[in-house]
Symmetry: C2
Subunit: 332 residues, 2 copies
């Protein structure tokens, strides 16, 4: 990944104390590069940023409609939610309606990231379940698709019909054969691609409409609509995805991925965006995507959802302002 | 900070997913550079890595002996402790013996980083105090010095006699005038220096002996001895500093600082080490210093304290191994 460029600086007093480098590519709906920083050919794991790609077979196969999934459930299939009662309850209801149990999930138990819920569970002595895993909606989608396709219980196996369908969709929308895959935090396979491939896929989603003639475009359009209609389900209160989508009032879908990945789908601008911070830092990917969306005119630079991640004072244990996060010169 | 070199890679499957760059300098006891990676002239905030420098005036002034501080208290003055009962209790006793109260501290309240204590406090509804702040030992030292010097209550003020003495000691052992300072997480001033300056200071500490003729060398030697004798007080159970110092069985003192800083003092090798990860990541600074200490022959590469940070499997929410942290080619 040589060629990553400086994107974000963390200032303390009158000096940049830490610096984050990365790659970013903006594509149009045909997958042509409109703007790029760093190396568009850098190969990355997109991690959770591609949940809307992983959900394409759920719709295209007919499984989503056969199971009567609503827009909220489609948004949850694309979500990295924070395990708040809102998310856990809706995923539990989805599974229950289809006759699945929590034990059918294969994402692993993860503590809730919702502060109040985590505190409640700690005091009550309740262990986190797989429903609290940020990927439980994606896995509920995998289970739904698995039943529809008649696959076995290990839907995370790369040779399972679910993951074969995911890989095919992934390679088609990125326009590239994936050079390798690895096990994600939730145990599902995660396919590698280039920055350009990821941005190309996001450009495809930006051009897709729920009433398109093409079935894949219809599926992609429905997923983008579901994400834009339910920013609270895609992440949660206080989270970057939720706050930035709300700030754009339904004009865009954005999605984070572990290790410094962020993507954005801008249907009204016909643009798709992919961003990776080389060192994997979330503070930097959030600041960089906020700055990039402002640069593209999709977000107001003074909106609280941007300012919280870019330019707001960093305060210490006594509440004293010690510095701030800034964009590096020359980026966005 | 152009010129940072790749030091640490975070692998997932068969590919490096994220990369961390940084600077590292190894100096002898005269401050001459023995080895360097990246830019020795890069200017950084050393953050908590220089607490042993900030504690020099406490001893040199005679304040420590006048107050009857023991080696454990000197180690706490150099510590970023985790706010476990061990640390909180000893700092409270120190303050109480001198007639100070928790409210005299000016480091701010910070939640304990000791898991059991944090859980106990959460369930009991106890708010964290300034004693839990990882810097409370350093601040107890500042209070002790402030009384000895007759300074006012705001010992964090850069013009306070305490901080003037700290700055003078800092510039003398780094061999450089500090180009700027900023407010640290605990509200004390933190003085910037170069990588070479920081490594030169650590080289000085490595050559200092508690029975030296020179009063500064005596003070430095006492502090290094105190740190080496009390690895549990310098950080805490499970922490990198504590585990690596135990692994070196008293042969070295190591100290972390926020935003990816690490230093090491190797008296038996007459070497001082300074390391800064450009992006500020702790996972990388811990891996890099472990690798560098192994490279220098000070730590066994297969010791659990090294393996935990370098080469051990990264496991996901289901306990599946997904990757590992490695040193970049060409570093250490």
């Amino acid at each position: 990944m040589a060629g990553a460029v400086e994107m974000v600086e963390v200032w303390r007093g009158d000096m940049a104390e830490s610096r984050h480098r990365g790659h970013a590519v903006v594509c149009d709906t045909d997958g042509e590069i409109v703007a790029a920083w760093g190396d568009p050919q850098a190969v990355i794991y997109p991690r959770s940023s591609v949940k809307m790609i992983q959900a394409l077979p759920l719709i295209e196969s007919g499984a989503a409609d056969a199971a009567g999934l609503d827009d909220g459930e489609l948004a949850l299939a694309c979500a990295s939610h924070e395990g708040a009662p809102l998310h856990v309850g809706r995923v539990a209801a989805w599974l229950g309606r289809l006759g699945f149990a929590e034990a059918d999930l294969r994402c692993g138990a993860q503590p809730s990231r919702d502060r109040a819920e985590r505190k409640r569970m700690l005091i009550a002595g309740e262990a986190p379940s797989q429903l609290h895993n940020n990927c439980s909606g994606k896995h509920a989608g995998f289970l739904t698709l698995s039943r529809h396709l008649g696959g076995g219980s290990d839907y995370n196996d790369p040779d399972h019909p679910v993951q074969r369908a995911v890989r095919a969709a992934f390679e088609e929308v990125t326009g590239l054969e994936s050079p390798c895959h690895a096990v994600d935090g939730c145990s599902a396979p995660n396919y590698a691609t280039t920055m350009h491939g990821l941005a190309r896929a996001m450009g495809f989603f930006a051009g897709a409409r729920a009433d398109a003639a093409d079935s894949r475009a219809r599926a992609a359009g429905r997923l983008v609509d579901a994400m834009r209609a339910h920013p609270d389900l895609v992440a949660g209160e206080g989270r970057a995805c939720t706050e930035m989508m709300r700030a754009m009032a339904g004009r865009a879908a954005v999605k984070t991925g572990a290790e410094g990945v962020f993507v954005a789908i801008l249907p009204d601008r016909c643009l798709g965006v992919a961003l990776k911070i080389e060192d994997g830092a979330t503070r930097a990917s959030e600041a960089a995507i906020a700055g990039l969306l402002a640069h593209l005119g999709a977000l107001d630079r003074d909106h609280p959802a941007v300012r919280k991640r870019l330019g707001a004072p960093i305060v210490n244990w006594r509440g004293v302002a010690t510095g701030e996060v800034r964009l590096a010169f020359g980026f966005a």
